[in-house]
């Protein structure tokens, strides 16, 4: 079977299907988790956000939150979460919230305002109510990599930087895809007995390749801003109907405020506007006074795959369709065999989404193979204790004298970096950034990116021209995420980085590849 899309959904599907004994190939047009999965806030929902608005989604989150804590503990930090009633929120919503939590069997406890402020001293002291729930933060990159590695240990082939350029059809059935290797330009055909379209916000584009029009996945733009500090150590939600800018998630060394929801025509065109940045900062101010004086590190936008498909809803048994995600069965919808599309969904329910769609595939194939992902741990979760903010520092302290520290912000040593370069088989600095957090700290690569480029070149992964391209490319990619939030200390940092890259190294005048004789 072929899985198109290497985000949380696709990686989950590959892991699920590989465990059930399917022969899996997963392709992604770019790196794993480079799309929506890598551009979210990092919240592992307790379900609290949905208890009033969408009971089914809440129940799913409650169950999946517990399962993920069991199977991928090392990808999760057990921060806990608070729902707080700010002065701008209706205190009565808290009662509906409590009711909803009970209905969804979500463990919740109302705590006093003083206790909430003791736990989170930066929180707005004018909050009126506070509820503790089992929210957590989850490292999306680590999660996706963990499932992808697990799948490949069970025989799956994971092919990042491979784009689907056409889906093959024989009669009524999709039989595979023509794929282009984006790094070499080479094209190849993949034959598949079944194809799962896990392209998220890009799913409609993929379905079109099989001649299927109108698959209702609408990209919903959400912007998020990472703040340089853990302004809070607990996930903070506003206790109100879900809206914009009402979640603050502490993850790794940062905290992320999110998000907006704007329908957008093209998931590849998600410009961040000044008004959106200002809205997030004002929303942050409501939760944590002084938010605007804190240091913003980076801003990005992700494309949610919003499900909106009247045609599929008409033909499918609605009892099988969760309002949060939906398996689009193209046999029923379009008379096309061998193709299913995953629509909608959220990272917290990635495992369930994979289970549902692989179940649907088994049904269509007329085979019964039980899902195993509720209990099996994918690799990378050997510690089994969840990570804590200090875990990297603890590991680092053991080798303090023996090893070079390449990225001071994220505490990445040289040997781990070289290992990752070998294991990833990638020489792209941005890929390494995602898998190791290299350059994600306060200096945004100001110091480590030159070093990493030199090391990649030194170990022979890049020739001089490629190293130059990689360095310039990284600087542009980084700039994309910082220029809309350049003020305060981060502007100062950016100017220091200019000093290094423009003044000292003069990256602007690196000879271009074409100039080489």
């Amino acid at each position: 079977m072929l899985v198109i899309g290497g985000g949380a959904t696709g990686a989950g599907v590959a892991w699920d299907a590989a465990l059930r004994g399917f022969d899996v190939i997963l392709i992604d047009r770019a790196d794993l988790a480079e799309g929506t999965s890598g551009r979210f806030h990092g919240l592992l929902h307790s379900g609290g956000r949905y208890v009033v608005k969408d009971a089914l989604a809440a129940e799913e989150c409650v169950a999946e939150n517990a399962i993920l804590r069991r199977v991928i503990p090392d990808c999760i930090e057990d921060t806990g979460g608070l729902f707080v009633t700010t002065p701008d929120d209706d205190p009565a919503y808290g009662d509906r919230f409590l009711e909803g939590c009970r209905a969804a069997e979500l463990p919740v406890e109302e705590i006093g305002v003083a206790e909430a402020l003791r736990r989170e001293p930066r929180l707005n002291s004018r909050i009126q109510r506070a509820f503790a729930v089992p929210d957590a933060s989850i490292d999306a990159w680590k999660t996706v990599w963990s499932f992808a590695r697990g799948a490949s240990e069970h025989g799956a082939r994971i092919l990042p930087y491979h784009s689907a350029i056409a889906l093959h059809r024989e009669g009524h059935a999709v039989t595979g895809a023509r794929v282009r290797n984006e790094l070499t330009g080479e094209e190849l055909d993949i034959e598949a007995g079944f194809t799962i379209n896990a392209a998220g916000a890009w799913a409609a584009q993929i379905a079109t390749m099989a001649g299927i029009e109108g698959v209702g996945v609408v990209p919903g733009k959400g912007i998020m801003i990472a703040m340089n500090h853990r302004l809070v150590n607990t996930v903070i939600n506003r206790c109100t109907m879900p809206a914009d800018g009402d979640i603050l998630v502490p993850i790794r060394t940062v905290s992320v405020i999110g998000t907006t929801d704007i329908r957008s025509a093209d998931p590849d065109e998600l410009p961040v506007t000044q008004a959106e940045v200002d809205q997030m900062l004002d929303d942050g101010e409501r939760l944590v006074p002084g938010f605007r004086e804190a240091r913003a590190l980076r801003v990005w936008a992700g494309a949610r795959p919003l499900f909106q498909d009247e045609k599929a809803e008409q033909v499918a048994d609605t009892r099988d369709i969760s309002r949060t995600h939906a398996v689009v069965d193209h046999r029923e919808r379009d008379g096309v065999d061998g193709l299913l599309t995953m629509s909608g969904g959220k990272l917290t329910t990635l495992r369930l989404m994979a289970e549902d769609i692989v179940d649907a595939m088994c049904k269509q194939l007329g085979t019964e193979r039980a899902c195993q992902t509720r209990d099996v741990r994918p690799p990378g979760n050997e510690d089994g204790e969840g990570y804590s903010l200090g875990s990297r520092l603890r590991r680092r302290e053991q080798t303090l004298q023996d090893e070079q520290l390449i990225c001071e912000c994220e505490l990445i040593g040289r040997s781990r970096l070289e290992q990752a370069m070998r294991r990833r088989g990638s020489a792209n600095l941005d890929d390494i950034r995602r898998s190791m957090r290299l350059g994600m700290g306060p200096c945004q690569g100001g110091f480590c990116i030159y070093r990493a480029t030199g090391i990649l070149h030194g170990v022979g992964r890049l020739d001089g021209a490629e190293a130059a391209d990689s360095l310039s490319g990284f600087l542009q990619e980084r700039w994309k995420g910082v220029w809309p939030i350049l003020y305060g200390d981060q502007l100062r940092q950016a100017r220091l980085d200019d000093w290094i890259f423009q003044g000292l190294l003069d990256v602007e005048h690196l000879p271009e590849a074409e100039e080489v004789a």
Binding site: H457, G458, K480, W499, D506, H509
Partner: protein
């Protein structure tokens, strides 16, 4: 409360230049600064003008053209002649300073082309003697020498880039490090190079590995206490030209500039107090009479007849922009010019685009006095120098050091000229 003839705020190149020049001109000078200044970040060269926007070969000529075309550029405040005078003064001061005979070579007539740590040919006018051998206008092949324990310098990467520009170059890496450490920065290496035994080991290992015609490039860390000796001894032992290439911060050559000028200041009776933040000023009839300062939690006041503000630009904290896009000069709350209006674009999406915010800074009149939006002088006895000034893009133009040096020097000349009878000031200036 203390009182000085002049308080200089900032210990970067602009502040120290102004302070030394004032002190040797006979003024009682106090330098207040938060930290050691931006010399520790830069290359340690005096880049006068490298791009305008094409690569500049002859900075003196290009300066004249730049001033003609862009009268708002801070170089217009000093003129090409002012830059030359400042450069000559700087070279003399460094050579006579505590690190002498370590000296700077070159001048404003032509730029050298020095390799950066990624191997780009960077135009620079006045450079330490220890870097001049890297001039890429000369043809000799280059062996770039790195050290495994120094993560801030990657010799084969630099050599490859040089090769792509037609320079015959290769890189090699030595496994020597101070005290055998796995991770040592340029300053730790510079201190190791001050030790003759370390130098002997380095040259012993290198001699076997260098080609006959190759010049040898090292990361810029050949000595902290006595760079002239370290460099000349390496040239002698290796029997070939040896030169330094700037590394990531901390900048050892920048520290040498700082140490040299601090030494010269001390010798001329000036003082530096670090960890001091200037938070405002008392004023009366258009003059600043006292500076309000903060040292830790302690508030202090210091009086002065003159203030030279050389706190630097955004990178140094001299200018700040808040999340509502209000810009301020942090010491005296001077107005900041060149900041786009609310709702207008401040930065553009391409990293190397021309960013509207890029040239923001304090606007001054022809005598370096800060002015308001209407061009009216704000204080009679405050002069602004260095990266705080509006109108330049120092890193892209490769002009930051030249601007700091020449405006710092000019500020001192203006103060000396205004506070002494003409004859007497000129007489002291000879000294």
């Amino acid at each position: 409360m203390s009182h000085h003839d002049v308080i200089v705020v900032g210990t970067g190149l602009a502040g120290l230049t102004a302070a030394v020049r004032l002190a040797e001109g006979g003024a009682r000078v106090l330098v207040l600064a938060k930290g050691v200044g931006a010399t520790h970040l830069g290359a340690g060269t005096v880049d006068v003008l490298g791009y305008a926007p094409e690569r500049v070969e002859r900075p003196a000529e290009a300066l004249a053209a730049l001033i003609d075309e862009r009268p708002e550029h801070p170089y217009a405040l000093v003129g090409a002649g002012g830059v030359t005078a400042a450069v000559d003064w700087f070279k003399a001061r460094i050579a006579a300073g505590p690190l002498g005979p370590y000296q700077y070579v070159g001048g404003v007539d032509e730029n050298l082309l020095l390799p950066t740590a990624v191997g780009v040919a960077r135009p620079s006018a006045v450079v330490p003697e220890t870097m001049a051998g890297g001039d890429l206008r000369a043809e000799a092949a280059i062996c770039v020498v790195g050290f495994r324990a120094l993560k801030d310098f990657h010799p084969t990467l630099a050599a490859d880039t040089l090769g792509r520009q037609g320079v015959s170059a290769r890189g090699l890496e030595l496994d020597l490090a101070p005290e055998g450490r796995a991770d040592a920065n340029a300053l730790a290496f510079a201190r190791a190079f001050d030790d003759p035994a370390f130098r002997a080991e380095v040259s012993g290992q290198l001699l076997r590995r260098l080609g006959v015609e190759e010049r040898a490039a090292f990361p810029a860390m050949l000595g902290h206490a006595d760079p002239h000796r370290v460099w000349s001894e390496l040239e002698e032992r290796l029997g070939r030209p040896v030169f330094e290439v700037p590394t990531l911060p901390p900048s050892v050559p920048g520290m040498r500039v700082h140490a040299s000028l601090r030494g010269e200041l001390r010798r001329n009776g000036g003082r530096v107090i670090l960890n001091t933040v200037v938070t405002g000023a008392e004023q009366s009839s258009g003059r600043v009479t006292e500076l309000r300062t903060r040292v830790g939690l302690r508030e202090e006041r210091r009086g002065a007849d003159w203030v030279v503000l050389a706190t630097g630009g955004i990178a140094s904290g001299g200018i700040e922009l808040d999340s509502r896009w209000r810009a301020r000069e942090t010491a005296l709350d001077l107005p900041v010019a060149g900041v786009p209006e609310a709702g207008e674009e401040r930065f553009r999406p391409g990293y190397f685009d021309d960013h509207p915010m890029g040239r923001a800074g304090v606007a001054v009149d022809a005598e370096l006095r800060p002015v308001d939006a209407r061009g009216e002088r704000l204080y009679e006895n405050v002069l602004v120098a260095g990266a705080s000034l509006a109108g330049a893009e120092p890193w892209r133009e490769k002009s930051g050091d030249g601007l700091s040096l020449s405006t710092g020097y000019r500020a001192a000349e203006l103060v000396l000229g205004a506070s002494e009878p003409a004859g007497s000031a000129a007489g002291v200036a000879e000294g």
